[in-house]
C-alpha cells in the first residue's frame, strides 16, 4: 500500500479465516507498532485482483489452485510460499433433526437425507465443494447422492441451509461446523478420501519493508497457532 | 326533479345554497368563483361537501347528515366536462359506448345510431380523440354522457373552451338534447346567449349564494342580475311559427303581432322563443314608414330606468310581450318618453341572430 491511510501490511485472505486472522492481527498490533489490514473475500477474486495489481502483501487463500495461479504468474516472493493451515471436511445435520450415524456406510445416512438436499459448495468452484465431491466419490456414495446436491457459492451459505434446517445434510469444514450450535457433526470424512485441505501462505511481490516479513513470520508463530487451533483449523507449518 | 342543498366552507369562500331544479334544463348562472363547479361536482359525487343533501327524482344521492354518500359510479349521472375528458386511447365509438358497459341491464338504452345522427359524428367513429377538433370533441363528449343512460345530465361550461363559430356549432345539439332526449339537465354557464337558448329555469349564483331563481325570461330581463352586464339584457318572446316565405324569411306570430325573421329551421306551428336584445331595439313615437326594418311592435312604455352611463333601459308592453330597449338618455329626452307613453319598437329581421331563436317544445322532425 502507498496511500497515507494504508496499513503497514495488507493481507488478502479467504473470508472464512476472518475471525482467526482478526484475533491474530490484534495480538500482532499489540506486540509491534505495525498495522495490518485484512481484505477478506473469495480466494479466486483475491487472486485475480492480485494478478491485476492489487496492493496485497500477503495472500492466504483457502485452496492451492489460486496460489498456483499466482505462482505461475510470477507474483509470489520466491521461497515465501508455505502450507500454513489444514482443515477437515465434516458431514453435518441440523441439530433439531439429526439422527446419529455410525459411519459413511450406515444406511441411516440416507434416512437422514430422505427427499431433502445435501448442501455443499459449488462442485466446480468452491474448494469445499470440490473436496466434498472427491470424498463422496472415493466413498462410493456420489452416484446416489449427486441428484440431491444443492450447491452454494460458499461454505457459509451451505452451513446456513443446515442451520435453518432447510437441508437435512451438508458438507462443510470442521472449523465452520464447530462454532454453530444449530448444527451437529455426524461424521468426519476420513483422511485420504480427498486431497488434503491446505491453506497456503505467501508474500506477494513487491513485498517491501520489515512489517510484511514480520507478519508473515508471526502467522507461523506460536500465538497464531493457538488462535488457529482454537478456531478449528489444523496447523501445518513447523 | 333534482333538489340540492349544500354547505361548504373554504378559505375566503362559503357556499350555502339550496334550490330545486324542475324538469328541463336548469342553468346555473354566475360569475367566476361563484361556486358553480363546486355544486355540480357535489351532485356528481366528485367532491364531497361538508354537509348537504341531493336527491334526484326522489332517489337520495347523498345526505351527509344521515351519512349517505353514493359513489359517483352509482349515481347514473352523465357529466359533460368543459375539457371533454375523452379517453385518448379509445376510438370515438369506444368512447361513446364506454358507459354502456356499466349501465344496469334493465336501463333504458339510448340508441347509438340515433345519438350519433343527432350529433353528426358518424364520420368520426373510428378516429381517436387526439385528432378531433375542439368542437368535435365536445360533441363526442355529449354523446358519451347521453349513452350512459343517465338520469341527469350535468354540463360544466361545456362551450367555454370553444371559440364562437364552434360554440354556434354545438349549441343546437344541446337544444336537441333538451327537446328530443328529455333528460333533465343542470347546465353551468356564464353566457347570456346560452341561458336564453337553453334554460327552462335559471339559478343565479353569486358568492356561494343563490341570488335569484326563475324562468329564463324573468332572469334575462333583469339587467341587475346579468353578470355580463347590460349588453346581454334582452326580452324573450314566445312566438308561433306561422309560415315560411319564399324569400327566405319566416313569419312568426306573437300575441297577434307578426315577426319576420331569417329562416327558422322549425316546422310550421312550432312554439319558439325569440330573444330580442335590448340594444337592437329602436324606439319611435310615430309609426315608422319607409324603413328597411320589418318588425314594428306598437306598445306602451311601462318603465324607464336610467343608470350612471349614457344609456336608459326602457320596458315596453306590447301584445307580443314585454320588450326591452336600450337607448341613450338623450334620445329618451328628445322623444319625451315616459311611463304610459305609447310608441313603437323597431327591430331588424337580420338583427335577430339564429342563435337567439330556439325551439321551445319538442318538434317531431329535427331541422
Amino acid at each position: 500500500g502507498s496511500a497515507a491511510l494504508a496499513a503497514d501490511v495488507t493481507v488478502f485472505a479467504a473470508a472464512s479465516l476472518k475471525n482467526a486472522l482478526e484475533d491474530i492481527r490484534k495480538e500482532f498490533e499489540a506486540e509491534t507498532d505495525y498495522t495490518v489490514a485484512l481484505s477478506l473475500a473469495g480466494s479466486s477474486l483475491l487472486a485475480r485482483q492480485i494478478a491485476l495489481g492489487a496492493p496485497a502483501d500477503i495472500y492466504l487463500p483457502a485452496s492451492a489452485d489460486w496460489m498456483d495461479y499466482l505462482e505461475a504468474a510470477g507474483r509470489l516472493v520466491p521461497g515465501s510460499r508455505k502450507d500454513l493451515l489444514g482443515n477437515r471436511l465434516v458431514l453435518i445435520a441440523p441439530q433439531s433433526v439429526a439422527q446419529s450415524i455410525s459411519g459413511f456406510d450406515d444406511p441411516r445416512l440416507f434416512e437422514q437425507l430422505g427427499e431433502g438436499k445435501l448442501a455443499m459448495g459449488l462442485l466446480d468452484a468452491v474448494p469445499a465443494g470440490i473436496y466434498g465431491q472427491e470424498a463422496l466419490q472415493s466413498l462410493g456414495l456420489w452416484s446416489r447422492l449427486a441428484p440431491q446436491v444443492a450447491q452454494t457459492d460458499n461454505v457459509r451459505a451451505a452451513l446456513a441451509l443446515i442451520a435453518a434446517a432447510e437441508a437435512p445434510l451438508g458438507i462443510v469444514y470442521a472449523s465452520d461446523a464447530r462454532a454453530d450450535p444449530r448444527v451437529v457433526v455426524l461424521a468426519e470424512f476420513p483422511e485420504g478420501s480427498h486431497d488434503p485441505i491446505r491453506y497456503p501462505l505467501a508474500q506477494i511481490l513487491p513485498a517491501d519493508g520489515p512489517a510484511v516479513a514480520a507478519f508473515h513470520t508471526y502467522l507461523q508463530g506460536r500465538v497464531a497457532r493457538e488462535i488457529f487451533l482454537s478456531a478449528g483449523f489444523d496447523v501445518i507449518a513447523e | 326533479m333534482l333538489s340540492v342543498e349544500l354547505r361548504q366552507q373554504r378559505a375566503g369562500f362559503a357556499l350555502d345554497i339550496s334550490f330545486e331544479a324542475p324538469a328541463g334544463v336548469t342553468v346555473l348562472f354566475g360569475g367566476s368563483g361563484a361556486g358553480k363547479t363546486t355544486v355540480v361536482n357535489a351532485v356528481a359525487g366528485l367532491e364531497r361537501p361538508e354537509t348537504g343533501r341531493v336527491a334526484l327524482n326522489g332517489r337520495v344521492l347523498f345526505d351527509l347528515e344521515r351519512g349517505i354518500w353514493l359513489a359517483p359510479h352509482r349515481r347514473r349521472i352523465g357529466y359533460i366536462f368543459q375539457e371533454g375528458r375523452l379517453f385518448p386511447h379509445l376510438t370515438v365509438r369506444q368512447n361513446l359506448l364506454f358507459g354502456r358497459w356499466f349501465a344496469p341491464k334493465g336501463a333504458a338504452r339510448e340508441d347509438l345510431e340515433r345519438i350519433v345522427a343527432m350529433l353528426g359524428i358518424g364520420p368520426l367513429m373510428a378516429r381517436h380523440p387526439g385528432s378531433l377538433s375542439g368542437g368535435e370533441k365536445q360533441r363526442v363528449a355529449i354523446g358519451r354522457a347521453l349513452l350512459s343512460s343517465p338520469d341527469l345530465i350535468l354540463a360544466d361550461e361545456p362551450l367555454a373552451a370553444l371559440d364562437d363559430p364552434r360554440k354556434e356549432e354545438i349549441l343546437p345539439y344541446f337544444e336537441r338534447l333538451r327537446d328530443e332526449v328529455k333528460i333533465p339537465m343542470l347546465y353551468v354557464s356564464h353566457a347570456a346567449t346560452e341561458v336564453a337558448r337553453l334554460a327552462t329555469t335559471v339559478v343565479v349564483l353569486k358568492d356561494g349564494k343563490v341570488q335569484r331563481q326563475g324562468s329564463a325570461a324573468e332572469v334575462l330581463g333583469d339587467a341587475s342580475v346579468m353578470p355580463t352586464g347590460v349588453r346581454a339584457a334582452g326580452a324573450l318572446l314566445q312566438a308561433r311559427l306561422l309560415r315560411h316565405h319564399t324569400d327566405g324569411l319566416s313569419e312568426l306570430e306573437a300575441g297577434g303581432i307578426s315577426l319576420f325573421l331569417p329562416q327558422v329551421m322549425q316546422q310550421v306551428g312550432s312554439q319558439l322563443r325569440v330573444r330580442i336584445l335590448a340594444q337592437d331595439v329602436i324606439l319611435s313615437r310615430q309609426k315608422p314608414e319607409g324603413l328597411s326594418a320589418l318588425n314594428i311592435l306598437p306598445g306602451e312604455i311601462e318603465q324607464i330606468r336610467g343608470g350612471t352611463g349614457p344609456g336608459a333601459m326602457v320596458t315596453l308592453k306590447t301584445d307580443a310581450g314585454r320588450v326591452l330597449a336600450r337607448i341613450t338618455r338623450r334620445s329618451a329626452q328628445a322623444l319625451e318618453l315616459a311611463p304610459g307613453v305609447s310608441c313603437y319598437a323597431v327591430v331588424k329581421s337580420v338583427a335577430i341572430a339564429r342563435s337567439d331563436v330556439s325551439g321551445e317544445a319538442r318538434s317531431d322532425t329535427p331541422g
Binding site: A125, Q151, A164 | F98
Partner: protein, 230 residues
C-alpha cells in the same frame, strides 16, 4: 450451437423461464403497489415505499438470507404456502421469487411514474359513466400507462436475468432446477481459466436482456404514439 454444453443450455433456458415468470407474476402486485403509492394517501405509505425499495438497498446476500428464513420450508410463510402445495426452497419457483423481489423496486418505480402522469380526471370521467374504481382503472388508466407497464416489466425481466446473490443464497445452485445463468457465470469465474466460458454466458445473457430492452422501447413508443391528446 455447439460452443455451449448441455448444462449451459439448461442454464439459459432456466434463466429465461425464471425471468419471465418473475416479471409477469410480479406485474399485478407491481401495478397495485405503484397505484397505491401514486394515488392514495394512507398511513404507512412511506413504510410501504421503503419496503419496496429494500431489495435495492440490501446486499443481495442479505435479501436471499431473509427469503430463506421467511420462505424456506421451516419459515413461517414457507410453511404456510406448503399447505397449498407451493414449495419454493430449492425450486425454480424460489429462484423466480428471488428474482421478482429483486426486480420489484424497478418495476414499481417505472409504473408509478407513468401513473402519476395520467390525469386522475379521466378516472373521474369514467366514474360518472358508471365504472367503479376497479373498472375505471382497468379500462382507462391501465391502457394509458401501458408504456410504463411495459418498461417496468422489461426492467424487472432484465434485472432477473442478472440476479445472482439473492437467488443462490435462497435456492442454491441445482443444475436444471435453480442453476441460472449468473450462477453458472459465477462458478466459471471461480476457477482459473474459466473466463472464456463465463464470457460466452455473459454474452448470451446480455444479448437476451438487450433484445428485451430494445423491444420494450419500441413497444412503449408505439403505445404512446397511439395516444394523442385528451
Amino acid at each position: 450451437m455447439n460452443w455451449l454444453g448441455p448444462e449451459e443450455w439448461q442454464a439459459v433456458a432456466l434463466s429465461l423461464k425464471v425471468s419471465i415468470w418473475a416479471s409477469l407474476l410480479s406485474l399485478p402486485f407491481g401495478i397495485f403497489v405503484a397505484y397505491a403509492l401514486a394515488r392514495w394517501e394512507f398511513a404507512g405509505k412511506q413504510l410501504l415505499n421503503g419496503l419496496v425499495h429494500l431489495p435495492l438497498i440490501l446486499p443481495p446476500v442479505v435479501t436471499g438470507y431473509l427469503l430463506l428464513l421467511a420462505f424456506g420450508t421451516q419459515g413461517a410463510l414457507g410453511g404456510f404456502l406448503q399447505q397449498f402445495g407451493i414449495i419454493l426452497a430449492f425450486r425454480w419457483t424460489g429462484a423466480a421469487l428471488a428474482a421478482a423481489i429483486m426486480g420489484f423496486p424497478l418495476m414499481v418505480r417505472a409504473i408509478r411514474l407513468s401513473i402519476e402522469a395520467v390525469d386522475p380526471k379521466l378516472e373521474q370521467a369514467a366514474a360518472t359513466l358508471g365504472a367503479n374504481r376497479f373498472w375505471a382503472f382497468a379500462t382507462v388508466t391501465l391502457p394509458l400507462i401501458l408504456p410504463g407497464v411495459i418498461a417496468g416489466t422489461i426492467l424487472a425481466f432484465a434485472k432477473a436475468m442478472g440476479e445472482f446473490g439473492a437467488t443462490i443464497t435462497f435456492v442454491s445452485n441445482i443444475p436444471g432446477q435453480t442453476q441460472t445463468l449468473p450462477s453458472a457465470i459465477y462458478a466459471f469465474l471461480q476457477v482459473p481459466g474459466g473466463e472464456s466460458a463465463a464470457l460466452r454466458l455473459v454474452l448470451i445473457s446480455v444479448g437476451i436482456a438487450m433484445s428485451a430492452l430494445i423491444l420494450s422501447e419500441l413497444l412503449a413508443r408505439r403505445a404512446s404514439k397511439r395516444l394523442g391528446g385528451t
